[in-house]
Amino acid sequence: MELSGLELLLQSMPQLVKGFIQTLLIAFYSIILSTIGGILFGALQTIGLLWLNLLTRFYLELFRSIPILVWLFFVYFGLPLFFNVHLSSFTCAVLVLSLWGITEIGEVARGAFQSIARGQRDAGRSIGLSTIQLYQYILFPQALRRMIPPSINVYTRIIKTTSLTVLIGVTEVVKAGQQIIERTGEAVMIYGSLFVFYFLLCYPLSVLSRKLEKRMT
């Protein structure tokens, strides 16, 4: 019996929802790790120690010059081969997206820290704050506001990039969609729903980011 598109969609909903949840979970973990790591990464770049600058620069360039997809393959296929480390495809996905997200949020954080007037550092130091205290009480609270809008943009990019993890076998939303299409041959409806899913997830974030940015200027 031929199913109508809508019936098909309803019938495959449980499978799609499973995929949605996978996508959301990968994005969620990656965003949390990217944010924490990225703020630290950005702070390390602004401390002004040569060896730290070289180290962070090297890390940054690794992710700038090598595509995420290659990183995913490297971690998923390469680690077991070269180091005998076996990670689930889900873990690999979160790991790679987080390592990449750290560089992106790190750049945002670096810019925010550097945009704070030089005198704030002088004033903080002159009352005897340690470097950690200086960041904790003076620089970070001021940088945070400036970080929020560009960070949200990075978050939408992380969400969209989760779709690459199909290729290391994560059954996220795109993969779930493909499985349904293979079974039923109904491509338009399923891809259409993926389209709507990503849009509904990322568009509000994009709007929010723009609103916050406007409110700050």
Partner: protein, 260 residues
């Protein structure tokens, strides 16, 4: 102010030198500051006076010579500046209050987080200091709600609340509207009367004359003249100092349009 010959200097600079990228900004600086003494550093812009001040609490590091603070040698690499900075207060040209904190939190940050003092005791001192400069009613304001003069007085209190042994003032009235200069200078004058050791970089000649125990005149990174204010202002020893002072007198004696 009088000092016995036996009194130990609170700060002693010997042969201090510093360069930025091969450009010499300080050279051959010898300076001794006694406890309770008010030293005013004068000189043309870019003569190194602000840099000298910043070297005293490690915001800049010196390349040559030595700085001794009480018995403590400040020069060695890896010096733990935090411990020194809580004993040497500094006030800046642009106040640099922390904009995200209320006035009271600006003042208490150092005493609570650096000196680990009890909240009640530090708060009592902060409020007393605010009371003395007449700004106790601003304790819960944010810096942006205050005038420049008020912010600068708060910045002075922020440094004072650490109970420093020396206070450094880096052109603290240079960014202020003229009518606010006085309220800040009054606070500093009062502080000097109470016996605080102060090192002041300023362009306010009248104030320098009134507050200083000693004038230090710098040019091109060196101290070229020092002495008591009376003799410095009435009979400067060097041509450079004469010319420098001349600039200020000339402006004071300008009349109407005949300058052009």
């Amino acid at each position: 102010m009088t000092h016995t010959a036996a009194s130990k200097p609170i700060l002693k600079l010997m042969n201090v030198g510093k360069s930025f990228h091969k450009q010499v900004v300080l050279k051959n600086i010898h300076l001794t500051v006694q406890r309770g003494e008010v030293t005013v550093i004068l000189g043309p812009s870019g003569c190194g006076k602000s840099t000298l001040l910043r070297c005293l609490n490690g915001l800049e590091l010196i390349d040559e010579g030595s700085i001794r603070f009480n018995e403590l040698e400040l020069t060695p690499k890896g010096r733990q500046w935090q411990a020194v900075r809580e004993r040497i207060g500094m006030v800046f040209q642009s106040y640099h209050l922390f904009p995200h904190m209320k006035v009271i939190d600006n003042i208490l940050l150092g005493p609570l987080k650096v000196q680990k003092r009890s909240k009640a005791e530090a708060l009592a001192q902060a409020e007393e200091l605010l009371e003395r400069i007449g700004l106790l009613d601003k304790r819960d304001s944010y810096p942006r709600e205050l005038s420049g003069g008020q912010q600068q007085r708060i910045a002075i209190v922020r440094a004072l609340c650490m109970n420093p042994e020396v206070m450094l003032f880096d052109e603290v009235t240079a960014a202020l509207d003229p009518e606010m200069v006085k309220e800040v200078l009054e606070v500093m004058l009062q502080l000097a009367r109470e016996g605080m050791t102060m090192i002041i970089v300023t362009h306010e000649m009248g104030f320098a004359r009134a507050v200083a125990d000693r004038i230090v005149f710098m040019d091109k990174g060196s101290i070229i003249e020092q002495g008591n204010p009376k003799s410095f202002f009435s009979e400067p020893q060097t041509d450079r100092a004469k010319r420098f002072l001349q600039q200020f007198y000339e402006i004071e004696t300008w009349k109407g349009r005949d300058v052009i």
